[in-house]
Symmetry: C2
Subunit: 301 residues, 2 copies
């Protein structure tokens, strides 16, 4: 991607804001328009991350070689065709949504642009541009769903390469090309089940009556880490767009019930199963801890 | 607690080893005997944390003013009366087990010693003395179950104060005196449900067939943090000694199933519930991140 290119990032929250910050560092000559409905986010971003700030209505999307949709999941699906219709013919549109089947299907319907589905596997429980960090994607894996079913294979390939280069510039370590349904099935286990489990544990704690206050006092690092993801209010939106989630969540519930029964009926078997899972977890390669916690607060306007 | 006192720590793993290291720093004159069945752990500990190392058979427990049982949960319950029988009459016995009803009931049966139940709310997924850290308990909360039902109130109070002073020396920030059943009920929500949820998520990932490999590649910080606790093979032992766990785990399974149904039947309601839980989680005061990850490896013998 040449540095003279112009891109727009729609949504200057944690993900879009972090992408702008990372690209500003890695490619200072890249022209970045930031689009957000919150004027304060635009003001903050203008100081350190973007060249121009716009509301969506005013954004000159037809000037851009590439547009990144980085809004929450629900809005994203509705915005996609509106944004595509305002872009230059043949330009590249991409996104960051954690659900890919529905989004890529909508993207494939846009004849005007080449849509490449994207999903950076990074995030934290904080929100908004003030939580954005230039190292959020450092060493991250990014899933890409290249466009399928269009005639012009060369344009498809070029669009995918352009989005790949964008994420590598932003610090990503690995780009994984993947079909949308494979993505959604895998992310169900990698992201949505952990999220729903975390939310359910918070739900249990808040609903346990008299024990709740004491439980909060006794909550240590294990509770903090297991439930951290529950504080991310944006994962649910992607889970709601993923057709594999309900059945997987019901299977997870069955596993929990099975463990509960085993504790009563055959504790030795329950402990053996848990020890095997502990071994399994310890053997799993895990992403390094890079950019957790909120970024330092930016100066207010 | 005077520094001329002699204590023994039985079990030089993550918890017992960290306690020895913390006390060595805070109270250099305190005489610490370390007891472990692994000669290598004793050798490592002798270099930096303890004055003398023993196997359990050889340990001069009758020399000690205070003995800390820091073995895994299952062994601990069986060891407690054996250890008490070998201690000096009137000395203080305490433990670190994450289940308190059964352990404190066994402790109360020991007429020879004064038993004070203890449970430091700290830990990580690593094991053994080589994972121990002198700051593991830094700023931690420690639950204490003072002895009840004995005649000598002054001795009971003095024993509790002695154990309290031990943990404060080790870096604890808050000592919470609590009845064993209240402890077990609260810890079910603060510790055991997060643990079982984490283990179930690992179980789901390992059992999802073709999606498993891809899911592992896509696992990011959320998966890492939610499932970290599943790698702690010692929590299960305490969960197996806690009578509140099975019903709470079944209730958690019901909550998960309810969320799954809501995603299918009323996604807006599901998302509203998840957003409320995200807010709830963000409002919860959480322990600071102090000593996560393994301590630097100690020099080998």
């Amino acid at each position: 991607m040449a540095d003279a290119e112009r891109i727009a990032i729609i949504g200057l929250g944690l993900i879009g804001g972090s992408l702008a910050l990372a690209l500003r560092r890695a490619r200072p000559m890249l022209h970045i328009s930031g689009v957000d409905l919150d004027p304060r986010a635009r003001e903050q971003a203008l100081k350190i991350a973007i060249d121009e700030g716009y509301s969506l209505e005013d954004a000159p999307l037809d000037d851009c070689d590439l547009v990144v949709l980085a809004t929450p999941a629900r809005e994203l699906l509705a915005l996609l065709p509106q944004v595509a219709a305002r872009m230059r013919s043949g330009a590249v549109l991409t996104d960051v949504c954690g659900a890919k089947e529905l989004v890529c299907a909508e993207g494939a319907r846009q004849q005007r642009v080449v849509f490449v589905g994207g999903h950076p596997m990074a995030g934290n429980e904080y929100r908004g541009f003030s939580a954005a960090s230039p190292v959020l994607f450092s060493r991250a894996t990014v899933a890409l769903c290249p466009p399928a079913g269009r005639e012009d294979a060369a344009a498809r390939k070029a669009a995918t390469e352009r989005v790949r280069a964008l994420w590598l510039s932003a610090g990503a370590e690995k780009i994984l090309e993947i079909a949308p349904d494979d993505h959604d099935r895998a992310v169900t286990f990698a992201s949505h089940l952990p999220y729903l489990a975390a939310a359910s544990v918070v739900d249990a704690l808040t609903g346990c009556g008299a024990a709740s206050e004491l439980a909060r006092e006794l909550a240590a690092g294990g509770f903090r880490d297991t439930t951290r993801l529950a504080g991310d209010g944006t994962v649910g939106g992607a889970a709601a767009l993923n057709r594999f989630v309900p059945a997987a969540a019901r299977a997870l519930a069955e596993q929990l019930r099975g463990l509960a029964d085993a504790f009563e009926n055959d504790p030795a078997a329950a402990l053996a199963r848990l020890a095997a899972l502990a071994d399994e977890r310890r053997r799993m390669p895990m992403p390094a801890i890079t950019a957790t916690g909120p970024a330092p607060r930016l100066p207010s306007a």
